[in-house]
Symmetry: C2
Subunit: 320 residues, 2 copies
C-alpha cells in the first residue's frame, strides 16, 4: 500500500492526516503552531508531527509517497512560500526544508486551494470534472478546478470571485472597489447588516419586546452572526426573513454570474454558513435558477454544501 500525508499549516494549529489511496484519512494528528517560531523551528515541529503520525498509523517511511502541505499564503511551484503573513513566512523555501528533513517528496499549495481540492477529490465534488468552490468567511473566496487542476491564472492569483462587482457604485469593499460580491455576501457583511438593522429597529420601536434578533444576541449586537440569523428564522422573525432574503438575492446574483460564464458541474459552498445545509441551499437554488441563462438546460450545475469541514485542507494538500 502507498500512503500520502496531508498537512494544513495554520496560524494556530498544524493538522496532519494519513491518507489512503482513495484520499480517506486513516489517522489524524494535530499540534499547536509554535507562536513566533522561525521557519526552521516550524519545519522541525512539522517533521516531528509527521513521524509521530506515521508511527501511530503503523506506516513506514517507505510507504509514504508524498507529503502535501497547505499554507495560508502564496506559494511558488518550487515550494517557496512567498508571503504568508499570519505565520510570518516571506520567501521561505519551506518545501526544500521539509524535503531535507523527511527525505520524502513535498508538495506545497495555498490552503484555500487545498480546501477546494479536498472537496473536489473526496467530498462534495467527488467525481466531477469542473468544480467551483465559493467559501463564505470574513471574505468570499473561491477556486475553480478543471480536470483536477486549480485554475491559478498567469500570476497564481486567480479565484477572487468575491471581488466581482455585482452592484456598480455599491457598498465599499476592502479591495478598494465598490459593489463587490464580498461586500454583500461575506459573513462579515451579513453581520454588519444585521447589526445596523437591529439597532435601527430598536431606535424605531424601543419598547417593542418581540425583536427576536435583539433577544437572541443578549442585547449585544456584536454577537449577531449567521447562526443567530438562522435561529431567528426558525422563530419566523420578520426582520430576520427580510435580511435573509436580501442576503440570498446577493449571493445568488454572484453564483448565477459564475454559472453563466463557466457552467461548472458542481458549485460548492463552503465556510460556516454552509453548515446550515438545505436551510441555506434550498432558497439559494431557487434564486439562482431564476437568474441563470440556461434555466431550460437538461443538465444543470449542482449547488451543494461542502462536506469535509477542516479535513478538506488536509486532504487537498496531498492531492496532486
Amino acid at each position: 500500500m502507498s500512503y500520502r500525508i496531508g498537512v494544513d499549516l495554520g496560524g494556530t494549529n498544524m493538522a496532519a492526516g494519513m491518507l489512503d489511496a482513495s484520499y480517506q484519512i486513516v489517522k489524524f494528528a494535530t499540534i499547536k503552531t509554535r507562536q513566533g517560531g522561525t521557519p526552521e523551528e516550524i519545519a522541525d515541529d512539522m517533521a516531528a508531527l509527521v513521524w509521530n503520525l506515521a508511527e501511530d498509523a503503523g506506516i513506514t517511511k517507505e510507504e509514504i509517497e508524498l507529503i502535501g502541505i497547505g499554507v495560508p499564503g502564496s506559494v511558488t511551484e518550487e515550494g517557496v512560500v512567498e508571503d504568508a503573513n499570519n505565520i510570518n513566512f516571506y520567501d521561505v523555501p519551506f518545501g526544500a526544508m521539509m524535503r531535507e528533513r523527511t527525505g520524502i517528496t513535498i508538495h506545497m499549495v495555498n490552503d484555500a486551494r487545498a480546501a477546494a481540492l479536498g472537496e473536489y477529490v473526496a467530498g462534495a465534488g467527488k467525481g466531477s470534472e469542473t468544480f467551483q468552490m465559493l467559501t463564505i468567511g470574513t471574505g468570499v473566496g473561491g477556486a475553480l478546478i478543471v480536470d483536477g487542476k486549480v485554475i491559478a491564472g498567469c500570476n497564481g492569483a486567480a479565484g477572487e470571485i468575491g471581488h466581482m462587482v455585482i452592484k456598480q457604485n455599491g457598498a465599499k469593499c476592502n479591495c478598494g472597489r465598490r459593489g463587490c460580491l464580498e461586500a454583500y455576501a461575506s459573513a462579515g457583511a451579513l453581520k454588519e447588516k444585521m447589526q445596523r438593522a437591529v439597532l435601527e429597529e430598536r431606535k424605531k420601536w424601543p419598547r417593542r419586546k418581540e425583536s427576536v434578533l435583539w433577544e437572541l444576541c443578549g442585547h449585544r449586537v456584536e454577537y449577531l452572526n449567521g447562526k443567530t440569523l438562522f435561529k431567528a428564522l426558525e422563530q419566523e422573525d420578520e426582520l430576520a426573513q427580510e435580511l435573509f432574503d436580501e442576503y440570498i438575492e446577493y449571493l445568488a446574483e454572484g453564483i448565477a454570474n459564475i454559472i453563466n460564464a463557466l457552467q461548472p458541474e458542481v458549485f460548492c459552498i463552503g465556510g460556516g454558513m454552509s453548515e446550515q445545509k438545505e436551510k441555506l441551499l434550498a432558497p439559494l437554488r431557487t434564486s439562482v435558477m431564476d437568474k441563470i441563462y440556461t434555466k431550460h438546460s437538461r443538465i444543470q450545475t449542482r449547488i451543494v454544501a461542502a462536506e469535509l469541514g477542516n479535513n478538506a485542507g488536509i486532504i487537498g494538500a496531498a492531492y496532486k
Copy 2:
C-alpha cells in the same frame, strides 16, 4: 506535409481555408450558403467547396488530416448540430454526413468557440496558456480557453460572460435579468444609448449647430454606432467623450471581474469595436488596472485586440 481545412458555416456564406501545420491559411475559398437548403444540400455544397479548395491549393485528399467545421449553434461531441436556427439545423448529424461525403476525419465546433480558438492558436493569444475572449457584437459573448481546450461546462453552454450582472436591478437584458454586462457593453446597448443621448441633446438645444454626433449620422440617429462615436471623439466632441467614458467604465467593470476570478494570461477583445485597437484598448486598460485586485502583481493579464477578423473562425474550427 499534412494539412487541415477549416470551414466557417454561416447563414450567408461558407468560407473555407487550407491550413498548414502552423495554422496559417495557405488558400482560401468562399461560396454563398444555399438559402433554405436542406442539410444534405448544404453538405453537398460544402464537400464541393472543400474539393475545389484542395485542387486550387494543389493538395491531395491524402494530405488532408482533418476538416474542422464551425457552425452557428450548439454541437455535440459526436458532431450532431443540435440547434442552429439561422441555418435551420435541428439535430442534424452533420459531422457524419460530411465524413461520408469526404472520407476525411471531421471535427465540429460552435462558431464563437472556433473564433476564440483561432485567436488563441494563431492570433492575439498565440503562445498563451489561459486565454479569455470577449466578443462585442449585438450581444457580448465569450470563451475561456485553458491549455488549448475551451471550457464548455457541464452542459456545453459556458462562456456567457455577457450575462454577468454588474449592476443589480440595472438595465433590462434580453436574458430576462437586470444589469447584465451585455445590457451596457454590447454594440447594441451602446447604439441605443447614443441615440437617446443625441435625441435628448437635440431637445434641449434644438438650434445648437455643433452637435457633432447629430451631424455625423446625417440627422438620422439610426445610423449612430461605435464607428460614429470614435469619429466624434476625433473631433473632441464632449457628448461623445461622456458616452465613451461611461461605456469604458461598464466594460472595464466586467473585464476586471473576470480577471479577478481567472487571471487569464491574455484577455482578447473581439468584434467590430476591437478594430479601433488602441483607441479602445488604452483607456480600457487604465480603467481595468484601477479596478483589479492584483494591481500590484508583477505579472498582469495582457488586454489585447483580436487580430484575425473573420479568419479566426476558419482557423479555430480546425484546431483540435
